[in-house]
Symmetry: C3
Subunit: 336 residues, 3 copies
């Protein structure tokens, strides 16, 4: 039954994991990518077809073909970044997920509203720099992959840096001292069940290299931290904090139903948190689709192996949800 | 044969791993937990029964039921923390491990004696702050999960901080500059064999977030490090140092036999080390039971896959030891 | 057919992984090690035979036996370090790999030439300290396992440290601020195909512990960083950077064919990179044989599970290459 549909995605971000998972669930697979990446995606035997577009924003140009081949598109981070929301929304290709959610992913103010509605703590935000408790971190809107951030230690430092800042839309947040943890959820609207698939922390350059440089060198050369994500590493959470991790996920879902629409968010999403020494979670972001950190777990995670006696990546979990929906004749519930 | 017994534990710390492992070895499984965590543990299909107590210290109140159902209790970190040793020792429920060892887990002076007896290096300890080589780390007794520590850079700093310190029982240790590594052992009294199951490092807030903050910010805002464990990440050790890792484990076992009683320590335990640039191990602690870092390895570790052609967590290894003992009619040797 | 050959290696570095992989591919296995490690290697049931030599440099003394038993030697880091190149090259035992490549592994100038030929960026190097942009990192030749490095913040600092430096052959490199990533490749000359097996970062003492020490302590006690590798942890790379990772691997192979000999490098190798905030790779080293970071992946990695539906470590991949070559009667192409 799966064979009628092809699972497809843009060639970037988490395409390998998504398509490997789709193949494991016996779907045909397709990637749409740039000419200079064709070579790369052709290395992997689980990808049945590699289609080319000249730029990612040109994606809608191959819609006809996708529709004809019953492609179900799986969105990921690059999808949102490259296609923009409007063009994305206008596409008629089968799309896994709720497109309404995308508006809430990209807009930092809407994110804040969502988290507040869900009663999840967030770092204090300042409209006016005069109210700030320092240090602060300044984040541009729509910053992708962790670029477009800066740290400031006081008002003057902020004043100098904001002049040079490229983005005119940004938020000012208190810099929370703690450790980061990204929780990968999957919510099944078919089973009405929330799972924690895995967890990671991002590997950011140069922030994750700073600590290796002793203070006496940093004293000589003032280094501006940057948060460009170039990789990920695996983590687990203290078991006594896991119930709260599940609760936060459920609150995100509930809040989405009242804020966005009746369906709300479903499928994979991620809560990006900082944990302080009093064991409190501060959420800095919701990713309303699969995150790249799940790429660590092509063969499953410490958490997924609790629930499955087979390797279950988030990519595969998506494919399995589609398979279940097909079998139950409920595909319309999970597509947009 | 396994079916006569139920493997049970307190709902916290490493309960998921323990019970998943027990189920994989075909035991019935039971968790005893707080009302607000029932929901959480019911999410997992490998847990056959979720029992409730109003507080963890209330655990002995359900003893009768546990005894009737042939429950074998698996102790973990929260077990010791919440039940205290005396109440714990008085329980008549089957208990995996040697209860005498618990006295040696909780008392920092006994720990030191144990490590010394085993000829394993430990950080220098100071009775008198005047003798200290700075920086020092001050650790309260019975500090659980990494809280209750502070760093001091000189006598005055120590003097100010000790005034505000909650604990009256503490040790003063030289702060060893190196990297941390936690080695997870399993000693089988049935096979008389020591295995290294896995290794980890703790993920501590805020200590593991400090390095991401540049010195010029830290210069502005003096941050007190804290060592509250909120997660774990996976590590392996350089192969040329592995023989020493095994030797340390064996010395711990040997020393326990002469210090504690004839049986000594068996089952899972952990040595918490710091490795200095001269490749020397300094042991800071022995955990005389399963540690939460093993939760990373529900599907096995780089080390366990060398020994098993199936996923082998420490939790599952415990269940298998019990199974072996049952088959050989030697259960009494591993229970208390 | 495999049974005629025995796969053997020196007992150190990545011997466990290599021999476990060999056993999984149905070879007989042998380790040659020091008397004080016999005990250690005998713990593992996948090692059929543990042979002893009094020092690693004494390895050639058991050549006759190795030749008689059709042993195929798998070289690793300790192999090169302990046997030196000349003695190594003179051995007549079957050797997996191209011995000519070893000259290019050990010599930092040749490494630089290799990377330049491959058009891979490297950190700026200075012949004269007066030209340096600080901080710089000074690396001795043939430094093994990350020892023999120092950091300098200015000319005076360099001048003082170089006086005490043990090595007379060294290079001076600009210290690149970024994050480290080690990419584990395998190039099959049988299939003419390059794979990425896995990735890691090294766990270095004390460099990876420095960040946990707050600046106000480091201000009090000036800590010299060291880079002694005592372990490894797992990483993945952002998918949009993976095509470049493959390209770098292919360039390394191509350059080796024109610089070294017609066969060039094959089998496992590793590119040790630093990634800067502009997402640029700087290569600091090529390891022209299996690296210890692959020891993380005895059960496969996020990358190997994309290509194999069974656990595939680099060690096992080597054994499989040998098996393929035997079946196709092309063993001579991959041995030296």
């Amino acid at each position: 039954m799966s064979t009628k549909y092809t699972i497809g995605t843009l060639g970037s971000h988490s395409a390998l994991q998504i398509l490997k998972g789709a193949k494991d669930e016996e779907f045909k697979t397709l990637v749409v990518t740039l000419p200079n990446r064709v070579n790369f995606y052709e290395r992997f035997s689980f990808i049945d077809s590699v289609d080319t577009i000249s730029t990612f924003t040109d994606f809608p140009s191959i819609e006809k073909k996708l529709i004809k081949e019953n492609v179900i598109l799986i969105p990921h981070g690059s999808f949102v970044a490259y296609l923009g929301m409007e063009r994305n929304k206008k596409m008629k290709t089968f799309y896994f997920g709720n497109k309404q959610v995308l508006d809430w992913e990209e807009d930092r103010e809407k994110q804040h509203q969502w988290l507040t509605k869900a009663h999840i703590d967030t770092p204090p935000q300042y409209k006016n720099i005069k109210d700030a408790i320092f240090p602060v971190i300044v984040k541009s809107f729509g910053a992708a992959g962790g670029s477009g951030y800066f740290l400031a230690k006081n008002q003057r430092d902020f004043g100098e840096k904001i002049k040079l800042f490229k983005s005119k839309r940004y938020i000012i947040q208190k810099y929370i001292t703690g450790v980061t943890l990204y929780i990968h959820y999957f919510y099944s609207p078919i089973d009405k069940k929330l799972e924690i698939m895995s967890m990671d922390r991002r590997y950011e350059t140069n922030a994750d290299g700073l600590g290796r440089i002793p203070a006496w060198i940093q004293h000589e050369v003032e280094i501006q931290p940057s948060y460009v994500v170039v990789g990920n590493s695996s983590l687990i959470l203290r078991e006594s904090m896991l119930p709260q991790a599940f609760e936060m996920g459920e609150k995100i879902i509930d809040a989405s139903k009242s804020l966005i629409d009746k369906r709300g968010i479903f499928g994979p999403f991620c809560l990006e948190t900082i944990i302080t020494p009093d064991m409190k979670f501060y959420a800095v972001e919701i990713s309303a689709r699969i995150v790249a950190g799940t790429n660590l777990f092509t063969h499953g995670s410490a958490y997924s192996w609790l629930n499955y006696n087979e390797p279950m990546s988030t990519g595969r979990r998506i494919a399995r949800e589609i398979k279940y929906a097909i079998k139950q004749n409920r595909l319309n519930e999970i597509l947009d």
